[in-house]
Homo-oligomer: 600 residues x 2
């Protein structure tokens, strides 16, 4: 008799689960979940990105989707073994639907599903050509007037967007647009990426000179080509810029630099967009079926309004337009804001010999970089994780398997550890007058990122300058008004200033849609980003997934893509599969399209 | 008691072997080899690339080197298990020398060493910064006027070769120079690569338009950045060109395009080269300590002399200068030669609508591409090999572990299989009048490559055109003379011709040294390439390794580097370590510096 290993036990469970699904017993399938169980689906079942919370939501989804999805073949993934620890059995799983192959992850507790992740890996008959199926390249055999690779590529470059329309148009050629463009290219979806800058990578190159990634290399890989072993942990901005540029080239993306999207409108009857772009000074009208905004998850710059902004005789910039410290040696600079950009800019200005004051209007969450790497990311994204066999793909999926509803519960203890480890640091920071918080529920940086995309700084050195007074700090005050050569604060302090930097963040991404399409469409889509956690800057009701990101919106064939490098990499897979299915005419019944609760 | 596994048995053997070496018992160590055993060393013991054949040569080497090398710590490599099959036990091994860490491979037969491979992996205290030791990138902390990565890189580009001399100068920026430059960069050896073309990759781009790699992707990776999973099996030339260009950029090589080396001389007293280069029209004098010629293993084009070459009114080109078929539609072309280039050019000309005749003067070895991939390379370099855990590094080392003296014995049965598999093809080819051979001893293509670097064609389709007469064939004849509009063959046939392509191969690489330095130095170095196998075009005496490649030559601080992508990748590691050691002042006593038996 076979020994009952965790793997055989999970397989037996999957057999039962699969049978319930195959026979349409949705109640039975739902009852195999814990009362507080979760099913997170990335496209495979819902043609959406959705988390079903509890048995009722699982059953409702199955009742709606099961007939079209037709899942079969649930297995513990080949080459993997289930593992047991602390009463939880977990395993990598594979399954098939009528149109796709899926990969996923399951956690069982007391014989019931605690978490289930299902993801679409590839569509049957539309698999990427890679590994055993990679293209031959050389054209063996012979034929008169055959075209070479280069001739075919030159033809594609010359024709796409001119005599032949792209199926998909991506506005914005940063890492988001590039990663998605690469995936679509591999799936054979004709795609153009338009980018306002002159070169791929310029969206990094053009930022302030001391900028480096705040996320470490293991978290930052693009699809298909990993950074090499000698790549720095935190890549400097120009180096990332160069990498993106080379990536765009070797992945053969149809990338239009120096191109601005001017206007877009959707013809519902034709199911087609009309997008006017200006390419190197010339207007071109494109007619894609799908339009993706990848213009930066940060949205448009927030510029605060203060009395006297028209009176002030010095320079005023949003942080996104700050050129770096060179021009400001010996100058007096006031930086309004206290999050990542504010800190980075203050430190670089101080290093460059400016006199800098940071105006902190509300509290900020700080984590030291090394601590965040060790405690926050180390288990999934680190050299040690790689050595332990946690590939980037696995790390992404493990991360994706944790339901947002309970993610803060996993995060809180990590941040308690950080607080402990860096106690002296936080004490010094508070002694310097800095207003510090850990998020509304103590869940720290990553939850702030997911909920509001702001409100923190990953300390790479600026805090010491705040602590020792090199960067002057005015905290707990607002800006009352500007005078000709100064900033007057709410407590009456007057700060002489040659330059004011507004490190005041960004609006919601649907602001881009308002500019490009119409306010009406932007309102129809609603706020982009956030979970609906009812914490600061992330108003409820609970939505359970990032609003409007990487999934269908209320505006037909309009999509939002982006995020950090991790998200650009991971979610581009699912967005690409959604677009590919639509191009191929595969039915894509969307389950649970999000409602709009906030316009921005 | 421990079970006696192959691993524990190999470890026990290594313990004995290590002890004999540690105690200076060279006779005892030598006696642990089979009478016909081999020790191939890549730099670790000999500071050379040498194969010791039989106990006497092993003992002699140890007597000369042991005192300085001081090897210790012989182990079966961590995470590896020894394997037994057909009476041979083999294992991956690690060891240390006084200055380095080594990696190797051992095969035991009847309790004695049949083959031993020792390679230098890294020098102690000079390890590459990668993985756990990768650079941080961002400069955490703070400091006034710190330079960014880009500023430092810009400084390096501006200074190296201008106000600061490179330690190493590489002439030739194809895959050879690029791979070596990348390794040296990672080891912190200041290096400039000069390349006559305008862009990295042009040495591929500028060749005839239908050219694709004849070696498959798994064999072709560069160091540090593997080709992605979607990369074609046989990359088209322009795609490889683009990859090399991006690689040069992201690996931060100091690559000078549009630069020609004009003249070089060596000052023995100063231990320094003076090299005059012309960079974008301006002469610059460089003073490197080490000079590497990576100008192509093919050496300078061989142009045959025929009576009437001054009379012929059409075009005459060496194959290396052939621009592709576009200009020759409807023209009559005679291609002199029947190896790879001749076939590729004939096929492309036929496809492009030219009337082509191939003049075959001597017999050629043909292997069909798919057959070569399956039978010749599949075990080490294929998708299946990757799936079996044979990484590129392991494949390179397994390949390196087979001594050249007996390599043909491994090859002959493979080519017998190929002959069997493609019998109908060879019959048809011979029926078409094509003169075919399998190498002097039936050992086929790879041995021809190692021995003479020529004499074969990997069939990707041209043979069918020869067989069906689309490419006209004249074989067993020479060229008697050229007339104004024709080529007269030795059998009296007169072929009308608008273009003559001389696909007549290349000379020895030391021809480059004659041009750049002096005939005297070229003669001192002698013939480059070949094993001394006493087969056609590879005259004896037996040398046992590729002459003058990747190792010290008779000319101090003059090196030759290159070969196919596999060799450029693998041997660049050992050449880079030899150069690094010299820069660091690590003693590098060279054992068994090769003698010169042939001047070219």
């Amino acid at each position: 008799m076979l020994e009952k290993t965790p793997t055989t036990r999970v397989q037996a469970f999957l057999d039962r689960f699969g049978k319930a699904l195959e026979t349409g017993k949705t109640d039975e399938a739902a009852s195999m979940f814990a009362e507080e169980g979760f099913w997170r689906d990335l496209v495979a079942f819902t043609w959406n990105i959705r988390t079903m919370e509890g048995r009722g939501e699982v059953r409702d989804m199955l009742n709606a989707q099961l007939k079209s999805v037709k899942p079969i073949g649930w297995k513990v993934a080949e080459g993997e073994e289930a593992a047991e620890a602390d009463g939880v059995t977990e395993a990598w799983i594979t399954f098939e639907t009528q149109v796709a192959r899926g990969y996923g992850h399951i956690r069982l507790k007391d014989g019931l599903i605690w978490t289930l992740l299902t993801t679409m890996a590839e569509q049957k008959g539309h698999e990427e050509k890679a590994g055993f199926t990679r293209p031959l390249g050389a054209k063996h055999g012979h034929g008169k007037d055959r075209k070479t690779w280069k001739e075919e590529r030159d033809d594609e470059v010359a024709e796409l967007g001119v005599s032949r329309q792209p199926y998909c148009l991506i506005i914005g050629g940063g890492q988001g647009g590039i990663a998605l463009g690469a995936r679509l290219g591999q799936l054979g979806v004709p795609t153009i990426i338009v980018e306002k800058n002159e070169r791929a990578g310029d969206s990094w190159r053009k930022r302030y000179k001391s900028l480096c990634l705040h996320d470490p290399v293991w978290y930052d890989h693009l699809p298909y080509i990993d950074f090499p072993k000698n790549w720095p942990v935190f890549a400097p901005k120009d180096k990332i810029g160069d990498w993106l540029e080379m990536y765009t080239k070797v992945m053969e993306l149809n990338y239009w630099p120096s191109t601005t999207a001017k206007k877009a409108s959707y013809d519902e009857k034709a199911g087609e967009w009309t997008v006017v772009v200006e390419r190197a000074g010339k207007e071109i009208t494109l007619k894609p079926k799908q339009l993706v905004l990848a213009t930066g998850m940060s949205g448009k710059p927030n510029l605060p309004k203060f009395r006297g902004q028209d009176v002030f005789k010095g320079e005023q910039q949003h942080s996104s337009a700050h050129p770096g410290p060179e021009r400001y040696r010996g100058k007096k600079v006031v930086v309004v804001g206290s999050n990542n950009s504010a800190h980075d800019i203050c430190a670089a200005l101080w290093e460059g010999g400016a006199d800098v004051t940071m105006v902190q209007r509300s509290s900020t969450h700080i984590v030291r970089s090394a601590t965040l790497m060790d405690i926050g990311l180390g288990a999934l994204y680190s050299e040690q994780a790689v050595a332990n066999g946690v590939t980037t793909r696995k790390a992404d999926l493990i991360f994706a398997s944790l339901p947002y509803r309970i993610l803060h519960e996993f995060q809180i203890p990590l941040y308690e550890q950080m607080r402990e480890r860096d106690k002296d640091f936080y004490d010094a920071l508070e002694k310097a007058g800095f207003m510090h918080d850990w998020g509304d529920d103590g869940s720290g940086l990553f939850m702030k990122y997911l909920r509001r995309g702001s409100g923190y700084y990953i300390d790479v050195g600026a805090c010491d300058l705040v602590i020792d007074g090199s960067i002057k700090l005015k905290s707990g005050v607002g800006v009352k008004e500007l005078k000709e050569h100064s900033v007057v604060l709410s407590d009456g302090t007057e700060l002489p200033a040659d330059l004011i930097v507004y490190a005041t963040g960004y609006g919601s991404m649907n602001g881009w849609a308002a500019d490009l399409i119409s306010q009406e469409v932007a309102d129809k889509v609603g706020k982009v980003w956030g979970l609906g956690s009812a914490t600061t800057k992330d108003p409820g009701p609970w939505e359970g997934e990032q609003r409007n990101m990487w999934k269908p919106t209320q505006a037909e064939n309009l999509w939002f893509h982006g995020g950090n490098l991790h998200q650009s990499r991971h979610y581009s897979q699912y967005l690409a599969l959604q677009l590919k299915a639509r191009m191929e005419g595969i039915p894509t019944p969307v389950y649970g399209l999000q409602q709009v609760h906030h316009k921005a």
